[in-house]
């Protein structure tokens, strides 16, 4: 499936680091083990990092001002650790760059991803983009705060979700 942003297909301007090869000059996503190498590039070269689900995102704190993207991953759609990582990046580390979900999340998890702070999704799944768009639009009400700071509706916990 092409890269998805807010329910729409978008162009991917990031390259992936290739194992055993030098990092390219432009925007590149490096695995956590090559973060130092990425940081050694010129300061204006866009840098992203891909982390496994067992990583405490606090380790990214020193590098975060230089990072334009953090990729979290779902080795299985059942493994929900990346939700917590994404939310912590937004809430605890005030990260404002792109958070990309990779691996095999389900379209049915799309709203959860967005509400935890994920901005783009890149999966190998075969669904039509329309299934993801629909998953984003089908539920318009939530019952708890999220990092998107939707405004509560009346006196209670409810809030309306943006569906554009």
């Amino acid at each position: 499936m092409p890269l998805l942003e807010n329910g729409h297909v978008t162009e991917d301007r990031w390259a992936q680091a290739i194992a055993g090869e030098a990092l390219p000059a432009g925007a590149v996503i490096v695995p956590l083990e090559r973060l130092e190498e990425g940081l050694a590039r010129p300061k204006d070269a866009p840098l992203g990092v891909a982390i496994g689900p067992d990583v405490d995102v606090a380790v990214l704190r020193p590098a975060l001002p230089r990072l334009g993207l953090v990729a979290v991953t779902f080795p299985s759609f059942r493994d929900g650790r990346a939700f917590t990582q994404a939310r912590a990046l937004r809430e605890h580390l005030s990260f404002t760059g792109e958070i990309r979900a990779t691996g095999t999340p389900l379209p049915d998890q799309y709203e959860f991803l967005l509400r935890c702070g994920v901005t783009t999704v890149q999966t190998d799944r075969a669904e039509d983009v329309a299934v993801w768009q629909q998953a984003h639009e089908i539920i318009s009400i939530a019952y708890q705060p999220s990092v998107l700071h939707e405004r509560p509706q009346g006196l209670g916990l409810r809030r309306f979700l943006a569906t554009d």
Binding site: Q109, A135, I138, A142, Y143, Q144, L155, L157
Partner: protein, 562 residues
Amino acid sequence: MSTDTATQPVGRYAYDEVDRTFLSQRVAQFREQVGRRVAGDLSEDEFKPLRLMNGLYLQLHAYMLRVAVPYGMMGADQMRELAHIARTYDRDYGHFTTRQNIQFNWIRLEDTPDILERLAGVNMHAIQTSGNCIRNVTCDEFAGAAADELLDPRIHAEILRQWSTLHPEFSFLPRKFKIAISGSPHDRVAARFHDIGLVAHPGPNGRPVFDVFVGGGLGRTPIIGVHLCHDLPEEDLLAYLEAVVRVYNAYGRRDNMYKARIKILVQALGVEQFREKVDAEFAQMNRADYRLEPAIVEGIRARFGIPDLDAPADAAQKLDSDRKADARFDRWVRTNTHAHRHEGFISAVVSIKPDGGIPGDVTADQMDLIADLADEFSFGEIRVTHMQNVVLGHVRKDRLRDLWLRLDGAGLGTPNIGLVGDIIACPGLDYCALANARSIPIAQKLSARFANPELQENIGTLRINISGCINACGHHHAGHIGILGVDKRGEEFFQLTLGGSAENDVAIGQIIGPALPEDETVDAIARLIDTYLVLRNEGEAFIDTYRRLGAASFKDAVYAPA
């Protein structure tokens, strides 16, 4: 009887258009998911967590649909809809569960979206009654009625229901997550056998505070929950629970489903290190985002209907004279009622454990009758208990005998609450794909054997719990007498544990010895009870005699028949 506000259901949260829109969207979403499954766009592996989060299990013979009864509260109109579903889509009955829900055992996948739509029509759903998410929050069955209650826990149970509904971060946890909440010093919710147990009491500023227990549970590894936080302020309730569940989501084991509950993480880290992690998370959260303001709590409280507790001055006197005039009624009042905070009212427990019957099974006709009686006698309010019975919470004392006559006439007047016949049993091998043994026939035989109400009352308080496998859905570890079904070379055997309790005197039952063949189990339990009757001191309950004398005094009775 009238309610204070005609539009608001007594004892539970009143839905409005926004809540109804949410439910109808959820039904549409599930219909679409079923469609993708049927079309092959979703594999069974992918569809499974989606259907589980709508309460749909695949059992031994058919799909089972578990409908949520939030904190055990429902209305007469909802019960009638459940009766309709039982008649139309099942085999004329349903089954009350230990999480205060109701499940239907013979459901077709293709009917499920329609059933969910019918449920949504009465503001009900099956959301998060299964799956690795925060499950239905359970609560004291006498909430808002009990004389011993310090505060009504249902308002906060509703807040937790809403907060946990489709929670973006906590819908794919390592394993299921169960929360119970009580507002009474007498633990009727098994707070320390839950992933999180909350015990609320009024705090210094008039707002509630919560004692938080974490990491309790039964299952394969029974563990009593540890005390994590003392007097948590109400405004931090959601923030603190977020912190606990986050630590669990990040660090709970995912490599082995039998080691994935939070109790295993708490034990592995030790309570101090677990608390440090929770405190560190709590300290760095944007607490303002999660603050549970009194205005929010009061906004939700205002959506609860309040019963108009108005009884004649001589209501209690009338009950006294009714009891003196009818010994059978008097016995039922002794065993099946609970003291109400209002002197003219009482809470009545309808036993769903008839002599020789299947614990928790209720027919469609019985559901309709319970609904009618709730309308007539208890403001249309019905409570499902974690003991798989039903409570009518607010019955006028002068009308209690009328209620009992109606129940008794319909076979719903069994006077056995808290006694031998009030057995908790899992569905067992009659339904469940995981079970090793049939729990239900043992429950039926025990219940028939001890059917005599005088004998039951003489034996006194005795909790018997039966599980058909080590997953312990019948909570056998928490029973005064626990019975666990095991498979020995294709034969059903039953292992006995003694001394468990899920109440204030919480304890895990201990295995007394080798498992017994099915046909010897009921006799062995009968000898165990006979031994207790001989050994007990005046007024001493089984559990206390067991604790005073230890297992040795009972072992001979089980294994050396006279």
